[in-house]
């Protein structure tokens, strides 16, 4: 028993002696555990929170918007096989006039049933639900109400279907339907600018002339029934009533966004932690391997004293266990902190009524376990070798490393490199695997930086394309219904308006054989100047007449090319199914665009020209008057102020980018320090005698230091192009996986991205090696002369 205690003491002393090396490894391990904990934990937490919320508040499976459907249809749809519940609503978009706020505010107004709602049940946060017979009382979604100081009891004015109503707030609520809300034409959620209003059904239906009818339907399915089958039947039934087509949860804005967040978090869990854990395995392997080599005679002695192979094995595995304990502990702390930060970030734009942001204990368990496994796996080979050493062999020194002359040596000799350089190069050739792993480790650090640094440039390009090239208007006005082109004249008369241009947004399902995609087809006049279609190469394009122009991604999803045809089923106002030739493809970053010539669309529908969107440029001095006029504009369904939009987007993006690039820089530095510091320490340990001999021969500290610094920095330099390549691949993988229907992330890799990644890694490596180099000053020259290694 006392023997084991002595061995344990040795363990702790070894750990204390080599604390800096172990800490460098622990930090790499900690980064892996932290990212795993955060990404895995947060994605699980988000998923669970969402599921619980959906379950408790009966979030629907299918959603349909239509123009006006008689109540009698409700029963018919309820009878479809697999349908568990249906709920009808009347809805509209409205502009609100809030006291003390000059800007017109946009809201989505939905009816609230007289009896308890069956689906998408909102949770009241404050106040009370209005009396079903009340005509001027509403409940607001809590974040919007809070941002605008609309406390229960306060009033505001809403322009509903052309009539202005003063409404009283009775309460605040949250709904599973609006966990994430985004206004028309916006790029990011803005609680102050876009809200949800719930109004008693009776009153809202009367205001919208929909008494006895509905325009929005939510359907809950019985477990096990196919969404697609029900959607098909619903579409057939509602087709005569101006249906915009039923969608499932994946197309519901709020859910689609949460889903993409969860997917991104999971992606992170698959990409980053394996890198950190892999490097941990390598580093532990290298360091414990060196310790075992140095302690060869001690191992022989212990065995001679009667310690079992198993005791020796455990001794070295325990050393790795200590590294893991520190790493996992730090990882838990870092991961919890990251998760907290992440949940704060989510709380800003995801509105859950309760917090299940906490990372579950089993995530801690799993990530901790993974950390321990990585460290122990790293030590396994060396520990096993130690356990297997025969005592007699162990007590004699190991055979010296054998160097042989080969063609490479002859090449080096011919190149007349200096002897210190030769020592560096021979060491790399002698231990190619170790050199390769060190290169790979540092290359991964570079790649993490490249793959995270390219985002700002990509976003800048998107912003430039979206705002400076494509959308040059100051404001976009969205209307609830299509209007004659003469509406442009009315818009031109609004105060401050300088230029106007109209467009029509048509919702359609585009099909090619079994492939189909729901899209908004923009009908527009050639030569529009405020809202332009800009291809990736910067070219301004127009939709050719007599056909449809598709964005590259949409065409790809439909598997069509120029010259093919698509079947377009138009929904809502302008109905009809047409076969349209694909006249042109355009490559774009944002949206799944589809474009038609306005005249072509009008003649296709055999209707007078119509518009549903007006783009305007403004005289900014008259901004207040313009906003005030919007509050009076009938049928205005929404408005987007492009400058605010861009600034808001840029601000959000730059905040997030600062946080993420800092985090990634820290991660990259941790890896580099782990690899470079340990590499240099081990080199110093292996070369101490050699370097001391050179000092005795009259080499200066600088010259001797060159060998130590040179080898690691040479590896670091070789790691750069490798890292750039891996970074490019990872960035490509990321852009591919993040590309959704909403946007494509362009792969913008500027020289700056590579050079800043390299600068960070090379600096971190250099500083790490310099710290080790200082140990050269304490080399005991005299003792080297007297001892055999």
């Amino acid at each position: 028993m006392t023997g084991m205690e002595a061995l344990d003491r040795k363990l702790l002393r070894d750990f204390r002696r080599l604390w800096a090396q172990f800490l460098a490894i622990s930090l790499v391990l900690a980064a892996g555990v932290a990212v795993l904990l955060m990404s895995f934990g947060m994605s699980a937490a988000l998923d669970e929170t969402r599921e619980t919320y959906y379950e408790r508040n009966r979030f629907a499976d299918i959603f349909v918007d239509a123009r006006s459907v008689p109540q009698s249809m409700l029963e018919v749809i309820g009878d479809i096989e697999g349908v568990a519940a249906v709920e009808a609503r009347v809805t509209t978009n409205a502009t609100l006039d809030i006291a003390g706020k000059s800007d017109a505010t946009v809201a989505y107004v939905a009816s609230f049933p007289a009896s308890e709602p069956l689906l998408n049940v909102p949770i009241l946060q404050r106040g009370y639900w209005p009396d079903p017979f009340s005509t001027d009382e509403v409940v607001l979604n809590a974040p919007f109400a809070e941002a605008n100081d609309l406390w229960p009891g306060t009033q505001f004015t809403a322009n509903l279907n052309g009539s202005k109503r003063t409404l009283t707030v009775t309460g605040w609520a949250l709904s599973p339907e609006f966990i994430y809300t985004i206004g028309p034409g916006s790029l990011i959620p803005d609680d102050e600018d876009y809200g949800i209003v719930w109004m008693p059904e009776r009153a809202l239906a009367a205001l919208l002339d929909r008494t006895g009818a509905f325009d929005n339907l939510s359907i809950k399915l019985r477990p096990g029934f196919s969404t697609d089958t029900v959607i098909d039947q619903v579409d057939t039934l509602l087709e005569p009533y101006g249906s915009w087509g039923a969608i499932d949860r994946t197309q519901q804005t709020s859910d689609a966004f949460i889903e993409s967040e969860i997917t991104q978090l999971r992606m992170l869990a698959y990409i980053l932690p394996p890198i950190f854990l892999g490097i941990t395995v390598f580093l532990v392997n290298m360091v414990v391997g060196r310790i075992v080599a140095l302690e060869r005679t001690e191992i022989g002695l212990l065995k001679a004293l009667g310690y079992s192979d198993l005791a020796i094995l455990f001794h070295y595995l325990l050393l790795a266990g200590l590294v893991a304990a520190v790493g996992v502990g730090l990882g838990f702390a870092m991961g919890s902190w990251l998760s907290y930060g992440m949940s704060q970030l989510y709380a800003n734009f995801l509105k859950f009524p309760y917090l299940i942001y906490a990372v579950s204990w089993n995530t801690y368990l799993v990530s901790g376990l993974v950390g321990f496994i990585a460290a122990t796996a790293g030590a396994a080979r060396a520990a096993w070798a130690a356990a297997r050493l025969a005592p007699a062999t162990a007590m004699s020194p190991p055979a010296p490393p054998r160097f042989h002359r080969n063609w490479l040596d002859r090449a080096l000799s011919a190149a007349r490199v200096s002897q210190p350089t030769m020592m560096i190069l021979r060491s790399l050739i002698r231990w190619p695997l170790r050199a390769a792993m060190s290169v790979l480790g540092m290359a991964l650090a570079v790649s993490i930086l490249v793959a995270s640094n390219f985002f700002p440039d990509a976003l800048e390009l998107i912003i430039d394309s979206a705002f400076h090239q494509s959308n040059r208007q100051h404001a976009v006005l969205f209307f609830n219904d299509a209007m004659p082109e003469s509406a442009l004249e009315e818009a031109r008369r609004l105060p401050g308006v300088l230029q106007v241009e109209g467009q029509q947004y048509l919702t359609a399902i585009l099909r090619n054989e079994h492939r189909s995609k729901r899209a908004v087809v923009e009908a527009r006049r050639p030569g529009n100047d405020l809202s332009r279609i800009v291809a990736i190469d910067g070219q301004i394009v127009d939709a050719p007449p007599n056909g449809i122009m598709l964005s590259q991604r949409l065409a790809h999803q439909l598997d069509v090319d120029v010259g093919d045809t698509v079947e377009a089923e138009f929904l809502g106002n302008r109905k009809g199914t047409f076969t349209l030739p694909v006249t042109r493809l355009v490559t774009q970053y944002v949206g799944l665009g589809a474009y038609m010539d306005q005249d072509t669309a009008d003649s296709m529908f055999q209707q007078a020209p119509q518009i549903s969107v007006i783009n305007v440029t403004l005289d900014t001095r008259e901004d207040d008057a313009f906003q005030a006029s919007l509050k009076e504009l009938p049928r205005l369904g929404g408005r987007a102020m492009m400058v605010e939009n861009r600034l808001g987007f840029e601000e959000t993006v730059s905040q997030n980018i600062l946080i993420t690039t800092t985090i990634y820089a820290i991660l990259g530095i941790l890896i580099t320090v782990g690899v470079a510091y340990n590499g240099a320490r081990i080199q110093l340990s292996e070369r101490a005698r050699e370097l001391a001999s050179l000092r005795i021969l009259g080499f200066t500290r600088g010259e001797v230091g060159y060998i130590l610094v040179g080898e690691i920095m040479l590896l670091a330099l070789i790691a750069q192009p490798v890292g750039w390549w891996i970074g490019w691949r990872v960035a490509k993988l990321m852009t591919d996986s993040f590309t959704s229907d909403l946007y494509a992330i362009p792969l913008v890799l500027k020289p700056d991205t590579f050079s800043s990644a390299s600068l960070i890694v090379l600096t971190a490596a250099f500083v790490s090696v310099l710290i080790v180099r200082r140990r050269l000053d304490h080399l005991n020259l005299v003792s080297v002369m007297k001892t055999r290694e």
Partner: protein
Amino acid sequence: MKSNASDVVFRTKDLTKVYDTGEVKVFALAGVDLKLFGGELAVLLGPSGSGKSTLLNILGGLDHATDGQVWFRDLELTKLRDRGLTRFRRDHVGFVFQFYNLVPSLTARENVQLVTDVAPHPMRPEEALERVGLFHRMDHFPAEMSGGEQQRVAIARAVAKRPEVLLCDEPTGALDSKTGIQVLEVLKQVNEDLGTSTIVITHAAEIRKMAHRVIWFQDGKIAKTEINEARLAPSEIVW
């Protein structure tokens, strides 16, 4: 070459080295006054801990004296800082160690080149290796050579810069007597051909017979010195 008594290479005055372990003070050198002459081959003898290695280290600029002075010709070594001592070693001193201390990743020739690349007036590495009889082995790595061959490479490395002094600490300590004699032959050759003042520390008292002068150490002091009127060739020495 005979030693030249008027040409003083090293001179020490009251040289003292104290190892202070906190509890006890160990006088490794307790006031040594010594002169070493140009072209001389001196052998230092004495029991372990008598101070001979400490003296060699201080003469070679590897260690600092606690007290007293050392001159290399007109250069007072005891006044030099680390940088100056490095310079001194590089320009004037050759070392030969018991365990050769060759760089395993460099061939024999490259080990010699380590020195010739930085010394002011070196001989060619090939020439140095020829002197120790290893011209034919110059592209071999240390691990491919015997102990005696490695030690001869170490000597070639030490003399290639044409040092004024050659300091050898137990150069035959790790070798059998047959191989040891070969190494001593080389040392003698270098001493005679190049006129390099040479100090050899050894435990093998018989080796003293090849020296011009023998210096006996005891308790950090010079116990006695002896001048060999008739020197033996290494091949005549048996130990």
